[in-house]
Symmetry: C2
Subunit: 124 residues, 2 copies
């Protein structure tokens, strides 16, 4: 546990939701060809499919707020993160709660990317 997995996780999550809310198509740069997304139990594999799903979600504007982002290192140098938070969609007044699990992995250039991404709305 020698590296600052929590610091990397917090920085990543902040960047991820800022990008999601301001320039959604730029999220593609955070995935790679073998990355996986499960969004509300619907699956996508690879940067192109993931970017297509994320840019075609049924809302125009979204604002994420994450409450917690707890991280752990994996056995193979990755980072697992569990996020809990809330999001506001379009002109809705009431935020929706969500949970999201990520596994971050480093590419050969040392750049962190999303290998696993599982997103789930939590209904109250």
């Amino acid at each position: 546990m020698a590296f600052d997995f929590q610091g990397i996780a917090t920085q990543f999550v902040t960047h991820y939701y800022t990008t999601f809310d301001t320039d959604r198509k730029a999220l593609a740069g955070l995935y790679r060809e073998n990355s996986m997304l499960t969004f509300e139990s619907s699956q996508a594999l690879g940067t192109a499919n993931i970017a297509e799903k994320l840019t075609n979600l049924p809302f125009q504007k979204v604002k994420h707020h994450f409450d917690t982002a707890d991280a752990q290192p994996t056995a193979t140098g990755g980072i697992v993160i569990l996020v809990t938070g809330q999001l506001l969609v379009d002109e809705e007044a009431n935020p929706l709660k969500f949970s999201q699990a990520f596994q971050l992995v480093q590419d050969p250039q040392g750049q962190w990317f999303v290998f696993n991404d599982i997103f789930k709305l939590v209904f109250g």
Copy 2:
């Protein structure tokens, strides 16, 4: 993605919460010496510390119900799972919502165990 990661995940999650609710100390068998637990942002490392934390939580009886358990394979043969669910503690009438992320890994004997475990209550 050749193996049945979703089947293994569903079977594991069912077993995990049944064990949690009926024989909490037996959860120790699902962790190994390098396993990590983050329970409500408090951390434990290794079977003994994790078992101590789980058996000393501030409630006697608990009943988990999981609503969803979405799984993905990892790059290194593991399985990442995001669970959303509800739990009832002691004589409380109102369930608490929770989210939990696991990474399962196989030991040299092929037995699946919990390498990463991050648990978080989700308040409404």
